[in-house]
Subunit: 145 residues, 2 copies
DNA sequence: TCATTTCAGAGTAATTTAGTATGATTTACA
DNA sequence: TGTAAATCATACTAAATTACTCTGAAATGA
């Protein structure tokens, strides 16, 4: 069970925007260089992010992207929902008859428990939380811990 | 983020074995019919399950598979580890330099939190728990709830 | 013996992933 | 006003993965 690069790169890109929230817009080229992700690919990721309203774009020279709201108000779930769709461990499209007869319901409950657990984590972590974690790690490194 | 059919079918198949633990061996054909999964495909799934020691096989006519230990002692994680490998939300193969420079560590911590959350759920749920849930659902249906 | 069943391994079509490419449009700035 | 820098829209593609499908051998209970 893995996240695709869409989700992973998307979170990394949004983290870059969060680090510079309130400053100049950040271009795809900048993110591409800092996170070592293809520019073309990043462009694709930003289309849905923009359409969903998570980021605003500034076109033209010196343009780029900015978060549409403070890092505290954007969760990892917001980002992953846009780029990967909602977490669905299983498709649960089995028919009802098979369900009752075969114990499908028992496994369905399992998928729900896993999904809810993931959702709880990603809904509770904001970009600001990630920045705080990041700063803490940096400080610990400085102190030589 | 989804489980592949390997993991899903594997859990369903193991659930079938759990329902009949202590009785006759269950054949792939039986599971195939009850869960509506291709026989050929199920055969493939049982090879690693057997090699990992989670099930024992009885060859020949009237043969099949049985759990190698009580449903209480087999977790969903045991099954998924065999069929899907360990949960790895991200590959985390970025180099150390990029890590410190770009905030990779911050996203890495995120993937770890998600992974641990999933692992906690699947390690805590045994086949017996699934049977108990299943029986409860059946009872509630009878009572007309 | 024979039907039933596991076992081993090859093959394959469809889908998804991950990335590439092209050209148009917009805009800050010299 | 020209130009470089940037987004925007869309199409394309190679590689990997998924989800089976198939064939035949080996074992075994009745």
């Amino acid at each position: 069970m893995k996240l695709s690069t869409k989700g992973r790169y998307g979170v990394k890109a949004m983290f870059e925007l969060a680090l510079r929230y309130g400053e100049e817009p950040v271009s795809i080229k900048t993110i591409s260089e800092r996170q070592n992700i293809s520019e073309y690919y990043l462009e694709q990721l930003f289309a849905p992010l923009r359409k969903s309203g998570l980021v605003n774009s500034i076109r033209g020279a010196q343009g780029g992207y900015v978060l549409s709201k403070p890092p505290r108000e954007i969760t990892v779930a917001d980002i992953l929902n846009v780029l990967e769709g909602p977490i669905e461990i299983s498709e649960c499209i089995d028919d009802e008859v098979a369900c009752v007869r075969t114990g499908y319901c028992a496994t369905r409950l399992l998928w729900i428990k896993i999904r809810d657990s993931v959702n709880q984590v990603i809904e509770s972590i904001t970009l600001q939380d990630m920045i705080d974690d990041y700063n803490e790690i940096k400080n610990n490194l400085k102190k030589g811990e």
